[in-house]
Symmetry: C2
Subunit: 454 residues, 2 copies
């Protein structure tokens, strides 16, 4: 009976642990971390610097170190692994599933990577990892692990259990046994439950589900996530182009993919151009934010030049200037709303999406409803407060046009980006606000010029 | 050997199926859907109206119907179930896991719900569902299923396998067997793999992991998701306040939670106030968008009144108006960037977040770096194009101040919202843009007034 300790991180423990590190109290460190889930140790080590973490690593069993290394945030790991010798890294990677090992190797310079692989003693593991490194990180082949339980269709349940016994150490979590023919071609799967309940002499061939839910090595990770989600799978077999079983992807990796995609989308929507976190350096954070800010600023400068054309109008009717923020802000808000609804549809695709023109007509309807209501409210407000009918008419007419234009832009832009393989969430970011600012200004001043007959 | 058919939805098949529906070709409908995964049938039925779907339902086996009902989008299901009699619904719910059955019952008016439960023939299932309905939908108790395999710590492996055999029909996916003492208190779990490999006479007590990773019925779904993700769990046992095992949550439900949270965050960031999708009605879509647009507009009107105070300045120097969009847009962009970085931190919490003042100092540093760079660029641009030193100085000084202010606002707002239990993503939406517009205008015109000594 293995006992896993309950562990909650308190400020007191943290201070005590820091003291132990300073004083090199190896006994205390080892004792207080014994039996703790590696995921909890990872959270603890988050609070210390690389040298201190390295010191703790040297005191822990190699399997625990490997699990922690695997749990680390990618950015942190990239820096942390520089502190280890190739020999040490090979030892850790040997303790991990091939896909997790490959993930760590991806983060090293090519030369170091080769050196580490050469030092992996388990030939099979090294072969698996070399196999995996051939794939891009964001396709099924790059996500899969080579470790799985494979049974020949002609085996009996007894033979299958023997195979499970042989592989028990290599394959941590067994959900199903995958069934192949003599040529290793994938045929289907049989659940552990069914194996437990079947008689030892039953043939696997009479027991398995001829399951067609599998993915190909080249399938994009987003598509893999969609399939696993749609069919509620906890693992999916990966086949090569010739139908041979080459690996499996488990749901924990897919949960990570889903989270990463959500983080990425949030950053794109917010106009942050790199994967940054609050605890990155000031310079890295600034650099990630500058590109979009600069583009926004360039848009603003362009807008300023454009308004220069209407300098005379503003001099005569300064009140025109008052409503610039109203127009640009509404354009921006409408644009972001529209694009995010499209992004939502693209993320949860229907098999047959409505045709483009039907979509557009609907978008226009919604825009007209919103535009009319907003325009009426603004008209009333300007009449009440500014008591200027021409101004009220100008502002509300411009607002109505901006709502329409921004809705169309916000709908079309993500669709176009998606067509070109660019993340459509980009359309919900500063890009659409900048474009809509310019469009809004053009509409506003054109309407004003026309109505005032300046 | 069960065979699941490969199925891909083509326009041709869809047309043919529509024809079959029009002509009531029951044989074709039954034949073409036989052996198809229910998730694929759900996707197919998405293309037809409620009456047509109901017609198909009456032709399919009850278990398939139940699975489809479970797969449906919540909005669609709420409308669709109105087409069924309580008797029919009770039949479907009987085929589902208790948590999925409870989800469907949640969507009915109370009276109908009671009627359906009364008609469920399986007493145990009805009891399970009544149990689950006591919990909120967004806590562990509302997510868990009652179906699980439970073994007494004193049993042998053989007895445990007998229990699995008895429950095999009720529990579709068995990941682990949960171990309890004589009082049903949760002790730990033993994986199916270990049961397969153990001798039949071994005691469960000698085999199980005393696992402390469990959740309480009242735990929020977000916390459950965090725990399952952190420890890479495919299922987690749920205990009541007294440590008794009452259910388990499987990873497929958590994947749904993660996806829903991401969708919700996207809508909040975009300023959409309800859970809408592209295929909702025009009126529902408009209504979801109006609240934030109205608030944004109110902000714009307030801004207009504020600028009225500087009417004289604008009349004398119309060029001041030109840079309003630049100032407000940059403020908005900086605010959204800052808040989304905080939202990211809140979504992926560190155990000990940095102290508030350290965070703020860092935010200020980043703001100063970005502010200085942007201000210098704008200064150069205005000098070059407008050849007006006072204007260049005014605009760049205001821009710098706005970047600083917007960074602080963007950082503090989500933290405050989070403290009050409000979704912090709200701070990345129209709220922050509107506030920053007003702040930006105030800074801009104050600086201008001061520098020009108007």
């Amino acid at each position: 009976m293995a006992k896993v300790m309950e562990f909650s991180l308190s400020k007191e423990f943290l201070d005590r642990f820091q003291l132990a590190l300073n004083e090199r109290e190896d006994a205390f460190i080892k004792e207080s971390l014994e039996g703790i889930n590696p995921a909890d140790i990872t959270a603890l080590l988050d609070e210390f610097n690389a040298e201190e973490c390295k010191y703790v690593f040297d005191l822990l069993p190699v399997e625990v170190d490997a699990a922690i290394l695997n749990d680390l945030d990618e950015d942190e790991r990239e820096q942390f692994i520089e502190h280890f010798t190739p020999k040490e890294l090979a030892g850790y990677i040997e303790c991990l599933d091939s896909d997790d090992g490959a993930d760590i190797l991806y983060q090293m310079p090519l030369k170091r990577r080769e050196e580490v692989i050469r030092l992996i003693e388990n030939e099979e593991k090294a072969g698996h990892i070399l196999d995996l490194l051939r794939y891009d990180e964001d396709v099924a082949g790059g996500l899969m692990a080579k470790e799985l339980i494979k049974a020949n269709v002609n085996w009996t349940v007894q033979q299958c259990i023997e195979e499970i016994r042989k592989q028990a150490e290599n394959v941590q979590k067994i959900y199903s046994v995958y069934v192949v023919d003599n040529k290793d071609k994938f045929l289907g799967r049989v659940s552990l439950k069914r194996i437990i309940l079947a008689d030892d002499k039953v043939k696997i061939g009479d027991l398995y589900d001829a399951d067609i839910i599998s993915v190909e090595t080249s399938m994009d990770e987003v598509e893999v996530a969609t399939i696993m989600e749609k069919y509620d799978l906890e693992a999916v077999p990966v086949l090569n182009a010739r139908g041979k079983l080459v690996g499996r992807i488990t749901i924990d990796d897919i949960v990570d993919v889903i989270k990463e995609l959500a983080d990425e989308e949030r950053q794109i929507m917010a106009g942050i151009s790199a994967d940054v976190e609050e605890d990155d350096t000031v310079w890295k954070l600034s650099k990630a934010r500058l590109p979009w800010l600069t583009i926004g600023m360039a848009g603003g400068l362009l807008g300023a030049q454009f308004m220069g054309l209407f300098k005379g109008d503003i001099a005569i009717i300064p009140a025109l200037a008052f409503f610039i923020p109203l127009i640009t802000a509404t354009g921006g808000n409408v644009g972001i709303q529209s694009s995010s609804i499209v992004v939502q549809s693209l993320a949860n695709p229907n098999v047959f999406a409505e045709r483009l023109w039907r979509r557009m007509i609907k978008v226009l309807f919604v825009a007209v409803v919103n535009g009319v209501i907003l325009a009426l409210m603004v008209f009333g407000a300007v009449i009440l407060v500014n008591r200027d009918q021409s101004l009220a008419f100008t502002v509300s007419a411009a607002l109505f046009s901006v709502v329409l234009l921004a809705s169309l832009m916000g709908t079309i832009t993500p669709l176009i980006l998606d067509k070109f393989g660019i993340n459509p969430a980009l359309a919900s970011g500063p890009f659409i606000t900048t474009t809509n600012d310019l469009l809004g200004l053009a509409v506003y001043f054109s309407v004003a010029h026309l109505l005032y007959q300046l």
